[in-house]
Amino acid sequence: MIGIIRYGAGNIFSLTAALERLGIKYGMVYSETDFEQFDHYIIPGVGHAGAAMNKLQQTGMVDKIKSLKKPTLGICVGMQLLTSYSEEGNTDLLNIFPIKTLRFADSSEYKVPHTGWNEVNHGKDNALFKNIPTASHFYFVHSYFIEFNEAYTLASTAYSTKFSASIWKDNFFGVQFHPEKSGRYGEQLLTNFSNL
């Protein structure tokens, strides 16, 4: 069963709706004592990374999250929280991945926010992308991105710069796109995660 880590950042209606359509069981994690009953975790999040980190710190769950050994998936800002730092609010983050979250440069050719369906290229053989062809389209909407890194980037996407569409380290995963809004491949990814 997946525990969704609740810290007051963003709505989760679409995520829980997707899990229900897929028949994946889930519950809510509000504090450290709630972790034990789950074997997977999702860290959702939309909005401002700095504000999200503040809220997460107020829950007192930061140390627990950093010590998790079970599969944990950060989505969008929930993924950015796993990195060391974000330019959004000039904020230090969880530092599970020693890489940074940066802002896309403004340009009329590459608009910000990066909004819409873009190709996700995954070269590494990983169960998170099982039965998802490389270069499948996923839905993105974000102004900040996680830098590309050979060691931690599980899948990349090209925009004004090549960035991490997905990251992976041990039991920690992150996706910048919204799997709950990314058609059947997004649903496949959520199913894959629940099967890890």
Binding site: N11, F13, S14, A17, A18, E20, R21, V46, G47, H48, D106, S107, S108, K111, V112, P113, H114, T115, G116, W117, N118, E119, H137, Y139, V141, H142, S143, A158, Y159, H178, E180, K181, S182, G183, R184, G186, E187
Partner: protein
């Protein structure tokens, strides 16, 4: 590469779609959820629901609609129509809407854009602009193009961007309903001037009109209603032609 988006727009009143729909064997052509599901299955990249309910129950019916759509549909959707304050937006966000579209409320109170962007992030805030040519200029109109405001469209769009709009939905009222093609020259000017995505609307009548709007203006998305609802253009056929013209589109 980022795909160009194809967006069907559904008008909804009292929780039911209005305008005829005859493109598929729907059990209930007035059910917005079933219609949305069909568009999603055809390959629509996103949906816009325009709520034209005029009763005091509207927020409740909109929230119910958004929840029903979010439960069933796995692509993003925007809801617009009668969103006047933060509380409206908050209720719709919590019900599962990906974006809200604001039109006249933003014209009446531009600071609403700042408030919404600050509260929910720019990615949640679509500013819908209905424009009409007046003399050599373009002027913002309200109420489906019937009421002229004093605002120059170009200036208003730049103001909306600077206040925190995450996307512009630009409808040319001169082209809307004509099926004669999008307003290429104005869309091109606007698209080159802003740094946020632009959705073209008004005038779609043929597949070639979509090819033209993407090739000649480089807008991010194109929206249409009746050509999709009446089955005059099927989304898989449209996307195939776009692909043949080397325009990046999402494959299912």
């Amino acid at each position: 590469m980022l795909s160009k988006r194809i967006i069907p727009c559904l008008d909804v009143k009292d929780g039911r779609t209005v305008k005829g729909v005859n493109f598929v064997d729907l059990r209930d052509a007035g059910d917005p959820v079933e219609l949305a599901w069909n568009y999603s299955a055809q390959g629509a990249d996103e949906l816009v629901f325009l709520d034209i309910t005029a009763t005091h129950e509207r927020r409740k019916t909109m929230v119910e609609l958004v929840k029903a759509v979010a439960r069933q549909i796995n692509i993003p959707f925007t809801i617009g129509g009668g969103i006047n304050e933060i509380a409206d937006a908050d209720a719709l966000l919590n019900a599962g809407a990906d974006k809200i579209s604001i039109n006249s409320a933003a014209v009446r109170n531009p600071a609403l854009i700042d408030e919404l962007a600050k509260a929910f992030g720019v990615q949640f805030v679509v500013i819908a602009v209905d424009t009409r040519r007046v003399g050599n200029g373009h002027v913002v109109h309200l109420n489906g193009g019937r009421i002229a405001t004093g605002k120059q469209t170009f200036d208003w769009i730049l103001e909306a961007e600077s206040r925190g709009a995450g996307e512009i939905l630009l409808t040319s009222m001169d082209h809307d309903g004509t099926k004669g093609g999008f307003d290429i020259s104005f869309l091109k000017d606007v698209n080159e001037a802003v740094h946020i995505p632009v959705i073209a609307s008004g005038g779609a009548g043929s597949v070639q009109h979509f090819v033209d709007v993407f090739e000649k203006t480089n807008v991010d998305a194109a929206l249409a209603a009746s050509v999709f609802h009446y089955g005059e253009i099927l989304i898989p056929d449209l996307k195939e032609v776009l692909r043949q013209n080397n325009i990046e589109v999402r494959q299912l």
